[in-house]
Every structure is written in structure tokens, then in C-alpha cells.
């Protein structure tokens, strides 16, 4: 069951929540809608489900115009962020609901429903809990009830809104692997919304990264990570350092440096001449030994050991830079806060400063959208 979205926009009053959305999803794909708070990803999912109307554009599910169809005729299953389990019904009746509300002519007989619900509960590993009420279940169990309930109506397209958002970290990782397996074995097409870049990278076949109601980039996790099309994409997927720089005549010079960067230090295309920003990931910085030449001068602010990794906080002409290295590859004994070091950059990406790039690097809406601050080491350094 393929999904085709073209020219879709959604306005609420004067606010534009979605604009110019183009997205094609092939049968059997597992796609993540990733983005920070307020990026419009949940709205997009709800429009696909028919819970909300689009202001413009088209939506085709299985080559049928779906916008005019009510939710029940779209052959979808929807797993809500807070599960939206029917609190007054037992687990069994929650799962059976979609079958019980079918028109009399289409409704399966009672025994068939019972058998089907039992199968689904086995499938989500909740066999024997059918007589519980939702309030008597753990978060992970509720999540699986919600999934079983969505699957009961034999959907071809499974939509999940922040499916792991309300779960503890440990449960979350276990459950998402299990969900991926379920998707593959049932031959579903699935779209899930998440603000967690790690979740999207680990789970999805493809990611559509949204920002302020627009799709910034669509691609495989490796694509997006290795070839980010915008500063926002690079900043959202993993930690980055952001430095001012100037582009002139095909060369790039970082603020505070006298020498331009070598061409092989730079990845991707260059913007037009003028001020720009340079993005580089912490593990693409290398400390130069005393014997080596070149590099940029930096001041070591602090140093922390994070398991097998070494994390350095550096200062370069007013910018704070984070660097990361394997502990067994660096001799830490000569590193002391306050000492002057030289570092070499690699795989630096240069983006124009205009547009939303500047804000995108440090998204302010939510903590989850700020990859840097999520590293446990960050807390350790304070």
C-alpha cells in the first residue's frame, strides 16, 4: 500500500502548519517523520489518518484519492501518542472494538472475534491479560494493547504517533526492535512520528525530516547523516559544532584562523562567497601532537572521560567546541585544562548563513531537539 502526498499544506487561522509537503512512500516501507516540536509532523500524520483535513494538496493511498474518504475507509491503523485506550473497557474489548463496531453484515461472529483478539494478544505478547483494565497495565503493555487494537481491523497502513514517547528508556529500545520485526513479518507499510533522531536513525528505512512545516530532506538514515542537505539536517542528526567562517574564491577560512581549510577537509558543496557557517561533528576533530604542523589553535577548557571515549571542551576565538576521541588513541596524560592545543578539522560542511539555518542549529523549542545537550557527558562536564 503506497502513499503519495503532493503539494499539501495546512493552515490554522493565519498560522501555516504545513506547506508544500511532497512525500512518496512505497509499499512495505518503514518511514519516520522526524522533527522538533511544532514542526508539523504530527499534523501530517493526522491528515494521512483522516483525523484532520488538509487545506490544500492531494493524498493518495493505494492510488485512491484518500482525502475525501472517512478514516474508517482508509484501511489504516493508528497508534496514538498516549495510546488513547478506552479506559472503561477491558483489554479484550479494547482490541475487539474495531470488529464490534462493524456493520452487522460485515461483523464477524462473536467466536471469530474472540479468536482473533486472542491471536492478536498472543502476537503482542499479552496473552492472558485480556481481562485487565488499561489502568492495570504498565506503559509498555498499554503500548502493545494500542498496537493490537490498531492491527485488529487488518490495516495495510500503520500510523504511529510518537509510539515510544511515553516509555522508559530501557523498554523503549526493546520495544522498537520488536515493532520493527512485527512490521517486517506482517508486511505492513508504516509511518511513525518521532522527535528522537536516534530512534529514527535506528529504526526507519527512510526518514522525512520536517522543520517549521516543511520537509527539509527525505532519505535513508545514512543519506541524511552523511549527506545533510541543510545545516538544520546536520544539526538535528547528531551533535555538531558550529563555527563562523568566510567563503571566498572557492576557499573557506574559519574565524580566527589565518590559513584557509584544505579542500580535502571540506565535504559537500560550498555556498556563494561571503560569510557562512561551518559545521563539524565532534568526532571529526583530531588533536595534533606536538610534532605535527598546521591546524587551528584552541584552548582546552575541560576534559572528561565518558566510558571508552574522551570528551574535550575547547574554546576557539569565542566559540565553544566539543571534541570526542577514543581513549586508547589519545594520550591524555599531557592534557590539562588551560593548556593550548592544536586541532585539525575533517569533513567540515559549509552552509550559507541566511534562511533558517542559524536558528536551526540550536533549536530552542525543546530540549529533545538539541542533540548536544542530550549527551550524558554534557551533564558530567558541568
Amino acid at each position: 500500500m503506497g502513499v503519495d502526498i503532493a503539494g499539501m499544506s495546512k493552515r490554522f487561522g493565519r498560522a501555516e502548519i504545513l506547506s508544500g509537503i511532497e512525500l512518496s512512500i512505497a509499499r512495505g516501507e518503514f518511514v519516520a517523520l522526524l522533527g522538533p516540536s511544532g514542526s508539523g509532523k504530527t499534523t501530517l500524520l493526522r491528515i494521512i489518518a483522516g483525523l484532520e483535513a488538509a487545506s490544500a494538496g492531494s493524498l493518495r493511498i493505494d492510488d485512491r484519492d484518500a482525502l475525501s474518504l472517512p478514516p474508517r475507509e482508509r484501511k489504516i491503523g493508528f497508534v496514538f501518542q498516549n495510546y488513547a485506550l478506552f479506559r472503561h473497557l477491558r483489554v479484550f474489548d479494547n482490541v475487539a472494538f474495531g470488529l464490534q463496531v462493524k456493520k452487522r453484515a460485515e461483523r464477524p461472529p462473536r467466536e471469530v472475534i474472540a479468536r482473533r483478539v486472542a491471536e492478536l494478544l498472543e502476537l503482542v505478547q499479552l496473552g492472558g491479560l485480556g481481562q485487565r483494565f488499561p489502568s492495570q497495565l504498565s506503559g509498555g503493555q498499554r503500548q502493545r494493547v494500542a498496537l493490537a487494537r490498531a492491527l485488529a481491523v487488518d490495516p495495510e497502513l500503520l500510523l504511529l504517533d510518537e509510539p515510544f514517547g511515553a516509555l522508559d528508556a530501557g523498554v523503549r529500545v526493546a520495544l522498537r526492535q520488536w515493532l520493527r520485526g512485527l512490521h517486517d513479518s506482517l508486511g505492513l507499510t508504516s509511518i511513525f512520528v518521532t522527535h528522537d533522531q536516534e530512534e529514527a536513525l535506528a529504526l526507519a528505512d527512510r526518514i522525512a525530516l520536517l522543520n517549521r512545516g516543511r520537509i527539509e530532506q527525505v532519505g535513508t538514515p545514512a543519506d541524511l547523516y552523511d549527506h545533510p542537505g541543510t545545516a538544520f539536517v546536520m544539526g538535528f542528526l547528531g551533535a555538531v559544532n558550529r563555527l563562523d567562517c568566510a567563503v571566498s574564491g572557492g576557499g573557506v577560512r574559519l574565524a580566527g584562523d589565518t590559513q584557509p581549510l584544505d579542500a580535502q577537509q571540506i565535504s559537500g558543496p560550498l555556498p556563494a562567497n561571503g560569510p557562512a557557517i561551518a559545521l563539524v561533528r565532534p568526532h571529526d576533530l583530531r588533536l595534533l601532537g606536538p610534532a605535527e604542523r598546521g591546524g587551528s589553535r584552541v584552548l582546552l577548557r575541560s576534559i572528561a572521560v565518558v566510558g571508552a571515549r574522551l570528551r574535550l571542551i575547547l574554546e576557539k576565538s569565542g566559540h565553544t567546541i566539543e571534541a570526542e576521541a577514543d581513549r586508547d588513541r589519545v594520550d591524555a596524560s599531557w592534557l590539562h585544562p588551560g593548556s593550548q592545543l592544536r586541532i585539525e578539522f575533517s569533513r567540515v560542511r559549509i552552509f550559507a548563513t541566511d534562511g533558517s539555518a542559524g536558528e536551526a542549529i540550536a533549536p530552542s523549542e525543546s530540549d529533545q531537539a538539541r542533540p548536544l545537550s542530550r549527551h550524558p557527558a554534557r551533564a558530567a562536564l558541568r
Binding site: 490554522f12 487561522g13 498560522a15 502548519i17 516540536s37 511544532g38 508539523g40 504530527t42 499534523t43 489518518a49 483522516g50 483525523l51 484532520e52 483535513a53 472517512p70 478514516p71 501518542q81 498516549n82 504517533d161 522527535h195 525543546s366
Partner: protein
């Protein structure tokens, strides 16, 4: 919205739930019902009062008997609201902060004035506070008359208004942070100081809300008052009774003029109280 809904929902303050059916139907029924039952009849009230013309309207309202009735209704309702502010706060505090036998019973009893029909309350209070009643008989030797005087109106309105203050203040007391009081105590404040400077400011907006509700109810109250008031024109005659009397004399225009004035006056007073409350909330962050 208190639920942790989808992130976008919060930022747009709600959204069109197009998938949920029934909007045109329910809105249509609601509007029709409201129009038929409330809006048209109230419009008739305003329309009727214009039948007098401005001169007649003013004459009706400036009649000494009307002015006296307004003074009685609004003045005593305010006095009753003030009494209820004090005792309502006391009752709410005792119920919320202390544990003692019979607490649950008393807590349930506070709602009695809501549940007891006003006519029942009226004849009961009149009997109780008359010179040979259980309480009136105790006070009569001291020359204190309650039933059939303005005092009787006050008693009836205190009875009617009490639950408004108690039920508004109670949840706020339950939500008070004990830490603030404990901090004040560690800083050496006395109990009285803690109450006056920490507790009371936090409760004041709720007390005021409760007072406003009790006052609004008291101004319009009829059933519990007329039995105990004595209903002497100019002395213990309330506005609702004056309206009834005018209606019985088939002076519909005069009755509606007084009714309109009463609605507008209550509305203005509630508006003023609302503004005070907003101001207090901002000031004390309650």
C-alpha cells in the same frame, strides 16, 4: 487543556477536530434551545422595559419604594457576603486542615443550602428566629429581633451564601504549599503573622470569588427571604418581591424595568469584582 496532548496542539491553542462528527447538529440544537429558552425571553424583558419610555423607566426606578428595595437587597446581600467571607473561610480552613470526629458529616452538610428548597429554608428560618422560636426565643430577652426585620433577611442570605465561599476556598487551601508556611515559621514568624502574610494573600482571590457568587445569589434570592423578612415596604422589602408585587398588579412594564435594572446592576458589580480578582491574581500570582 491539561492533557499532554500532541505538541502542536498546545502552540495553536486547540484545533479543528474535523474527524469527530456532530458539530453542525449539536451546535444547531444548542443554539435553538438557548434562543428559545433563554435569549428570546430575556429579550422580551428588555423590550418590555422600553415600553415605558425613558421618563417612565426613570420614574419607576426613582420611586422611593424602588430605591429602598434596591438598598435593602444589595446592601444586605453585601453584608451577608462579608459575613460569609469570614465564616466561610473559617469553615473551609477547619474542614481542610484539621481532622476531628464528624468532619465528613459537616463537610457534606455544607452543601445543604444548595440542596434544600428555598421555601423550606424560608419557613424553617422564620420559625427558628421568630420570638418564640428556638434561637429567636434566646435572643428576644436581649431585645434582639431577627425574624420580620432586615436582620431576618441577613440570616437568610448568610444561609444561602455559605457554601459558595466554602466550596470555592476549600480546594485552594488543599493546594496551598506547606513549604511556604514552614519557611515562614523557620524565619521566626508567629502563627498570626503566617496567616496574615502568607496564607491570607494566597486565599484572597478565592474568597473574593466565593463572595461574588454568594452576593449574586443573595441579590436575586426570593424563596428563603420572603418568609422571614416581614416585607415592610421601604424597610424589609427586597427587589424580587417588588417585582412580584408589580406583576400581580399587572404592571408588566414597571416589573421589567426593575428587572432590567437589577440585571444590569448585578452585572456591573460582578464585572468590578472580576477586575479586582484579575488584579489580585496578577499581584499574588494565585
Amino acid at each position: 487543556m491539561s492533557i499532554a496532548a500532541t505538541e502542536e496542539r498546545g502552540s495553536w491553542g486547540g484545533r479543528q477536530h474535523t474527524a469527530i462528527p456532530g458539530f453542525p447538529l449539536t451546535l444547531g440544537i444548542t443554539l435553538c434551545y438557548l434562543t428559545a429558552i433563554i435569549l428570546l425571553p430575556l429579550a422580551a424583558l428588555f423590550l418590555k422595559s422600553t415600553g415605558l419610555g425613558f421618563g417612565g423607566f426613570a420614574r419607576t426606578l426613582l420611586d422611593p419604594r424602588t430605591i429602598a428595595a434596591f438598598r435593602v437587597s444589595f446592601g444586605i446581600a453585601l453584608a451577608a457576603a462579608l459575613i460569609n467571607a469570614v465564616f466561610g473561610l473559617l469553615v473551609a480552613w477547619v474542614l481542610e486542615r484539621y481532622r476531628f470526629p464528624g468532619r465528613r458529616l459537616i463537610d457534606g452538610l455544607v452543601d445543604l443550602p444548595f440542596a434544600l428548597p428555598t421555601a423550606v429554608a424560608g419557613i424553617s428560618l422564620a420559625t427558628l428566629y421568630s420570638d418564640n422560636g428556638w434561637i429567636g426565643g434566646l435572643l428576644a430577652p436581649f431585645g434582639i429581633d431577627i425574624a420580620y426585620t432586615p436582620n431576618g433577611i441577613l440570616v437568610a442570605l448568610v444561609f444561602i451564601g455559605l457554601p459558595f465561599v466554602v466550596r470555592t476556598v476549600q480546594p485552594i487551601i488543599a493546594d496551598l504549599e506547606h513549604e511556604a508556611e514552614e519557611a515562614a515559621r523557620t524565619l521566626g514568624a508567629t502563627r498570626l503573622q503566617i496567616f496574615a502574610r502568607i496564607v491570607l494573600p494566597a486565599l484572597l482571590p478565592a474568597v473574593l470569588t466565593g463572595m461574588a457568587l454568594a452576593f449574586a445569589r443573595g441579590v436575586g434570592e426570593y424563596g428563603s427571604v420572603i418568609f422571614i423578612a416581614g416585607n415592610m415596604p421601604g424597610l424589609s422589602e427586597i427587589v424580587p418581591l417588588l417585582i412580584v408585587i408589580k406583576l400581580e398588579q399587572f404592571d408588566y412594564a414597571g416589573a421589567s424595568a426593575i428587572g432590567v435594572a437589577m440585571l444590569l446592576l448585578s452585572f456591573l458589580i460582578l464585572l468590578a469584582i472580576n477586575f479586582t480578582q484579575v488584579w489580585m491574581r496578577r499581584r499574588y500570582g494565585a
